[in-house]
Amino acid sequence: MLESNTLQVWAQTVIAEQITAAAETLASYCQKPRSAERLHRARKGLARLRAALQDLGTLAGATHEFLDRIYELHRRAGKVRDADVLVSRVDEYLKNAASDERHELRALRAALQKRRKRARRKLEQAVRELPELRG
C-alpha cells in the first residue's frame, strides 16, 4: 500500500510540473495571441502535458475529462500552428517560383490565411473554456 502511494505521488508530481510549465506558456500566449512563436511554445507545453497524462494519468488519478480537454486545446493550437507553418512554407516557395507557380501560391496563401483566422477563433474559444490553465 505504501509503495503504491509513493508511486502515485511521484506520478502526480511529474504531471503537476507539466501543468505548471504548460500554464506558463499558455499565459504567455494569451498576452500576445498573434505571436506565432508564443503559440508554438504553448503548443509544445500542451504536447508535453498531454504525453505525461497519457503515460502517468491513470497512476496519478487524473480524470479522463481533464485529458480530453487538454487534447482538445492541443488540437486547436495545432490547427493554428499548422496554418502558420504552411503560410511560411508558401512564402519560401514564392521566393523562387516561376510565374505559373506563383499564381497558384498566391491563391493557396489566401486560402491558408482564411483557415488560420478560423482556427484562431476556435482556439481562443477553447482557451476560454479551460480557466485552470490560463494562469
Binding site: E3, T6, L7, W10, A11, V14, E17, Q18, A47, R48, R50, A51, A52, Q54, D55, L56, T58, L59, Y71, D82, V85, L86, R89, V90, Y93, D100, E101, E104, L105, A107, L108, A111, L112
Partner: protein, 147 residues
C-alpha cells in the same frame, strides 16, 4: 497521439522501475511503427513520428540513475523535426490539390520525400553499434543484431 498504448504499472514497486517500464513500452511502440519510414504512407509516418515524440518526452522528464538519455533524446528530436517538415509538406500538397495548385503540390511532395529520407537515415544510424539507441536498449532490455 490517439493511438498511444495504455500503460499499467501493476506489480511495479518504485519510480525507477516505473520509468524503465514506461520507456520500454514507448520504445516498443516506435519499433512497431518504424516500417512506416519505407511505406510512403503519410498517416503511418505521422503515427510513427508521434510515437517517437512520446518516447522523447518520456526520456526528457525521466532522470534515470547513472544513465544519460540526452543523446537519444537529441536524435529523436532531430528525426521528428524532419518528419514534422515531411508532414507539413504532405498537408500542403493536399491543400494545394484542393485549390487546383498542381505545381505546388508536386514541389511539396518532392520536399516531403527528401525529409522522410533524411529522417530514415537518422533512425537507422542510431541502431548501429555505438549508436544513440544503445544506451536506451541496454536500459530497457532490448537487443538486436548489429547492422
Amino acid at each position: 497521439m490517439k493511438d498511444a498504448r495504455d500503460i499499467t504499472f501493476a506489480g511495479i514497486a518504485d519510480s525507477q522501475e516505473a520509468v524503465r517500464h514506461l520507456l520500454r513500452v514507448r520504445f516498443a511502440e516506435c519499433l512497431e511503427k518504424e516500417h512506416a519510414l519505407g511505406s510512403g504512407d503519410d498517416e503511418a509516418i505521422h503515427a510513427f513520428r508521434l510515437a517517437c515524440k512520446r518516447l522523447r518526452y518520456a526520456l526528457e522528464r525521466s532522470p534515470a540513475d547513472g544513465t544519460d538519455f540526452k543523446p537519444v533524446a537529441k536524435v529523436l528530436a532531430n528525426m521528428t523535426e524532419e518528419l514534422g517538415a515531411a508532414h507539413d509538406c504532405a498537408v500542403l500538397a493536399k491543400r494545394a490539390l484542393d485549390c487546383d495548385a498542381a505545381l505546388v503540390a508536386r514541389r511539396a511532395l518532392q520536399d516531403r520525400g527528401r525529409y522522410v529520407r533524411r529522417a530514415s537515415r537518422m533512425w537507422h544510424d542510431a541502431f548501429e553499434s555505438g549508436g544513440a539507441f544503445e544506451t536506451l536498449a541496454s536500459f530497457t532490455g532490448f537487443r538486436w543484431s548489429p547492422q
